[in-house]
Symmetry: C2
Subunit: 355 residues, 2 copies
DNA sequence: CTGTTAGCGCCTTCAA
DNA sequence: TTGAAGGCGCTAACAG
């Protein structure tokens, strides 16, 4: 117990070969250069000593960790974590490992941890941005660690990204409500500094316009992306005169907050639940959506697909970086950086029977 | 763009000092040993070059990463991720960073990734075990990387752990149903190879016994911890003759599966939802619990608290390890390893008005 | 107060 | 096919 972990030299000594041979034998890529005999002795010794390579030392030398990080605003968020699982499955195919870190919903922390991660802990980073700016992300990318965005875009960075087609999804959701006969629809929640909210609002507005309706048909109530915000907006709606019957929630959390407020509202004088007065459509499907009383439509995002797409993007950048020469380009002729690629994934309209 | 990141030597050259001085100046612990002048020149140079320490090199030298990992069976699980956030908040206090990795619900992967993580990527590991055995965890711990268990215990390892008081929580939940007048209660779901399920079943049985009821009052239906399992068990219950009215779900997923089956069942001949025929109690509270039709009681676990407790346990071990001498103890007198400590956290009974 | 030196554990030419 | 040697970037003695 408490033995200091074995090193290559330990293995070399036990196997009666040099450390170079140990390294070669243990590394699949170079194992063929070692005689069968030596190789077996090395394997035996390694097993005997329970040897595992020191990751830090190896990556210091090879400048590669075969590891990618996902930096998410928070851990306890199903959407982010399903996305992470999508990343993981894709990475596995290429023999990479995933590490997830949190930016604690703060751009400052995001910058700090990004810097830490980028210095030889991981080969590439997939970021779900915590805020609207991206200069710090661009900086890390410029210094050689590929950075890919998912879910949201940011200002001030020109990076690869995997995103849902929020505009189209929102338009589809809106059209579904329209074709159910609702002509007054309120868009609820949404922080316009966040790209997803902007895109969804834009899709909503487009669908209304296409139907010949004014964009404000339904006293839209912007503001916020969290549970509390949804709760507050719903409260306002309940207090307002002649509120619209159809409501479009910008995301899951706002949706949940709204439903909570409706649950609190209980029943009408005539004994019918207040929630029956409304029909909701919302971005994001969850296992619980069928249980939310007035939820009729959701636009389900392919979280895992976004993750997988993002993973493919980083892996490509990581491999490309490998080919980069150390030579400085002639002054003024910096090689045009490959265009930032944006992958858009469609959403799926889901109808819930009860809503 | 694409400058190779600056190193200590780069900074040293620009600041016209030695690398040792750079290291000292940049390291808060030793910064006072450097003259103000030199320190400022170093800071200026570091800022100028946008220097960030290479984590791999540093940890290779210092044998410390100021990082702790959480290894969870999966990412997309609210309970695990809230637990991770608890860990993170506690680590932050001590200036440690959190990395989360997944064991993909496999003991084999768990062992592999644990080994990887333990080799200089992190100083300590908090594991939510993926399976019933723990020899591989013990092995890592024995080799010097502190390992702490959370949520579940395993056979074959003698490690610190932070756990919910499942036995008491289950008893409390059962008593609540009993005092509501139900004398036939079925325990639904539960894999007896998992310690949490065993403990909950035991608490359930104890509460029944204390009430003078036989343990099988209610045709208990064990088996499984996932959504599908809950769905299947509920299906069986619906098909059975004279099923018990009160049901105890072993955890959130089983609970959700049961509710799903009830939702599918729709309404009775008399127009009342089938879900009205049952009253459920379940481990694990979520933001969605109030919306689950027949959910009357939940035993809410303090996920973040478990994480924080586990974090404190690893940090203590990490610090203790620092004091360990390199000297081998006299043969036969290996210092008695400090007892493995088990922290138990209470659960909170929540009553849901509608259930 | 500062610089020189020597590795941490690993991989990778370069010679043999 | 193998070994010797150097160095990745950093820090911790040890001198000065």
């Amino acid at each position: 117990m408490k033995n200091r972990p074995a090193t290559v030299s330990d293995v070399a000594a036990l196997a009666r070969v040099s450390t170079a041979t140990v390294s070669r034998a243990l590394n699949p890529a170079s194992a063929e250069l070692v005689s069968i005999e030596a190789r077996e002795r090395v394997f035996a010794a390694a097993a005997e000593l329970d040897y595992t390579a020191n990751h830090a030392a190896r990556s210091l030398k090879t400048r590669s960790t075969r590891t990618v990080a996902v930096l998410a605003p928070e851990f306890a968020n199903d959407f982010f974590m399903e996305l992470a699982e999508g990343v993981e499955r894709e990475l596995e195919i290429s023999g990479y490992m995933l590490l997830v870190a949190s930016s604690v919903n703060s751009q400052a922390e995001e910058a700090k941890r990004l810097a830490l991660l980028s210095r030889r802990l991981v080969d590439g980073i997939i970021v779900i941005p915590a805020g609207p700016r991206g200069e710090h992300l661009q900086a890390i990318s410029d210094r050689g660690t590929p950075v890919v965005l998912v879910d949201r875009l940011v200002e001030g960075a020109h990076l690869d990204a995997a995103l849902s087609d929020n505009e189209a999804g929102a338009a589809e959701l809106t059209r579904a409500l329209l074709s159910d006969g609702f002509s007054r629809i309120a868009f609820v929640g949404g922080d316009v500094t966040i790209s997803t909210a902007r895109e969804r609002l834009s899709g909503f507005a487009r669908a209304l316009a296409e139907a010949g309706l004014p964009a404000d048909a339904g006293s839209t109530r912007l503001g916020g992306m969290g549970i509390e915000d949804g709760h507050r907006r719903m409260d306002e709606i309940l207090r307002s005169d002649d509120p619209p019957q159809a409501l479009f929630a910008v995301n899951l959390l706002v949706h949940l907050g709204m439903q909570r407020r409706l649950l609190e509202a209980g029943k009408d004088a005539d004994g019918r639940p207040v929630s029956d007065r409304f029909v909701l459509a919302s971005f994001d499907e969850t296992p619980y959506s069928p249980f939310l009383p007035s939820c009729r439509y959701t636009a389900s995002q392919d979280a895992a697909g976004l993750g997988a797409a993002a993973a493919r993007l980083v892996l490509e950048r990581i491999r490309a970086r490998g080919h980069a020469t150390g030579f400085a380009a002639a002054p003024g002729t910096a090689p045009a950086p490959a265009e930032a690629r944006i992958v858009r994934l469609g959403t799926t309209l889901i109808r819930h029977p009860r809503g």
